[in-house]
């Protein structure tokens, strides 16, 4: 019997997430690649004492305003955040996370972006720890083992894993194989590999074999639940095309 990974609603897809869960979520500077329907469903579900692992802490205000994981901070569901860009770029509009972090109500682990990506990748790859040059001689080295290889100093960094990953992709097939669209990809594929249960929010679900196996980015074995986006959130997007531009021709 084929395993059915397709879940009808975002609510159902996140219904079993317990208090205290660690959740990775795809996210960068704008809405592209953020699974915000899953985030909104989790917000509604009410799980608390969460640890969030993501590029930002939500609401950084670099692009459009939209309900990303900022709402989890606003409603005090987050205990700890591991991020690289947790603060709003505008001092006049501090994010919900910033106020909580400064007040000591949310613990922040601030990580260089490449180290964050590599720690997540290591988590998915069964590598418990690795050395990286980034951060030596800065505040990042505090409390970390420093060690020389070939005459250059490096820091020991540890893998990150999660109970759940919320990923945003373009298409899923019924096996859970995922492809991404442009820079939507960002952290999503490595998070999908680093979590016990990965839930994918996608624009389209196709039959097995509809995706070219040479083009699959996330193998289906990493994806446990698939939910299709049915609303149009109204962001600028041209879903009917990819980003292929031929020499001399227009898109």
């Amino acid at each position: 019997m084929p395993v059915n990974k397709i879940v009808e609603t975002f609510e159902k897809a996140v219904s079993d997430i317990p208090d205290g869960a660690t959740i990775m979520l795809g996210n960068f500077a704008g809405p592209g690649g953020t699974p915000f329907y899953l985030i909104q469903a989790l917000h509604k579900q009410g799980a608390k004492d969460l640890t969030i692992i993501a590029n930002t802490a939500g609401g950084i205000g670099l692009t459009l305003d939209f309900d990303d994981h900022r709402i989890l901070f606003e409603s005090k569901r987050v205990k700890k955040v591991i991020a690289t860009f947790p603060f709003s770029t505008s001092p006049k509009r501090p994010s919900a996370a910033e106020k909580l972090i400064v007040a000591g109500e949310v613990e922040l682990e601030l990580v260089p972006q490449g180290t964050l990506a590599e720690r997540i990748r290591a988590g998915g790859a069964g590598i418990p720890a690795f050395y990286t040059p980034t951060g030596v001689g800065t505040v990042i080295e505090e409390g970390k083992e420093k060690r020389g290889f070939n005459g250059r100093p490096y820091l020991l960094e540890h893998a990150l894993t999660a109970d759940y990953a919320f990923v945003r992709a373009y298409k899923a097939d019924e096996m859970g194989n995922l492809v991404y669209r442009g820079t939507q990809r960002q952290f999503n594929p490595i998070m999908a590999m680093a979590a016990s249960i990965t839930i994918a929010e996608v624009d389209e679900i196709v039959g097995s074999g509809e995706i070219d196996p040479d083009c699959v980015v996330t193998p289906g074995i990493f994806v446990h639940r698939i939910v299709k986006v049915t609303e149009d959130p109204g962001f600028p997007r041209h879903l009917e095309t990819n980003f292929q531009v031929k020499d001399g021709g227009a898109r």
Partner: protein
């Protein structure tokens, strides 16, 4: 007050550091402007932390309707345009490119740089918090780190200092800084003043620079 270079002129000067085949990562702010001044026909491949290489310019307001797409943005969240031969990859591969030493030139904003080549640009002044983002990996691992900045802060505070007063992005990483009045190289003996804005004297630049400047033998006016 003496005239200083515009943000565009700083970017224009930095663009002259590019070469055919260069892999370049541009930070937020003045750095983003650099790509507009790279000579047409020169093959410069831009990298962005969020997983793309070889994309085109930031789209103009006119192009918004037709081209803006949340799935094609640069590290600053700006919409960029697609180009033939571009490609996408995930964040771990994106930083494998950076950490693996494939970035020829990264252009970064500056809060402070020290005479030892330390860069500090991530902690928001006065807020006690900051975003590290991809800048730390870029500063540590790129072949050349070029700073793009006004020579002093808006309130006149020096940015080129003996010792950084705020948390570092990376120590000993700077190769060159291009400001609105000078081009300065970071070398073993110290800071070398290579170029100077039209109408400025060495003494005037030195006055706005805390460490003692070594004046290049071939000191010249900044060419754009």
């Amino acid at each position: 007050m003496k005239e200083r270079l515009s943000r565009e002129a700083i970017a224009m000067r930095i663009a002259r550091e590019c070469f055919d085949g260069a892999i370049v990562n541009l930070g937020i702010g003045i750095p983003t402007l650099v790509s507009s001044f790279v000579p047409e026909g020169m093959q410069v491949t831009y990298h962005t932390e969020n997983g793309a290489l070889g994309f085109g310019p930031v789209i103009t307001p006119d192009e918004f309707e037709e081209k803006a797409d949340i799935d094609l943005t640069n590290a600053g969240g700006q919409y960029v345009s697609p180009l033939p031969g571009m490609c996408f990859f995930h964040h771990a591969d994106s930083f494998a490119i950076i950490r693996g030493g494939r970035i020829d030139i990264t252009v970064l904003g500056v809060l402070e740089v020290s005479e030892k080549g330390d860069l500090a640009n991530w902690m928001f002044p006065g807020r006690g918090v900051g975003n590290i983002g991809g800048g730390m990996d870029l500063a540590f691992n790129s072949k050349r780190v070029i700073g793009a900045t006004e020579h002093t802060t808006k309130s006149g505070k020096l940015k080129i200092v003996k010792q950084c007063s705020i948390p570092l992005t990376a120590p000993h990483c700077m190769d060159m800084v291009v400001t609105d009045i000078a081009v300065i190289k970071f070398t073993e003996p110290g800071l070398v003043l290579q170029e100077i804005a039209p109408g400025w004297t060495v003494e005037e630049v030195q006055e706005l620079t805390e460490p003692k400047l070594i004046v290049a033998e071939d000191l010249k006016e900044i060419e754009l």
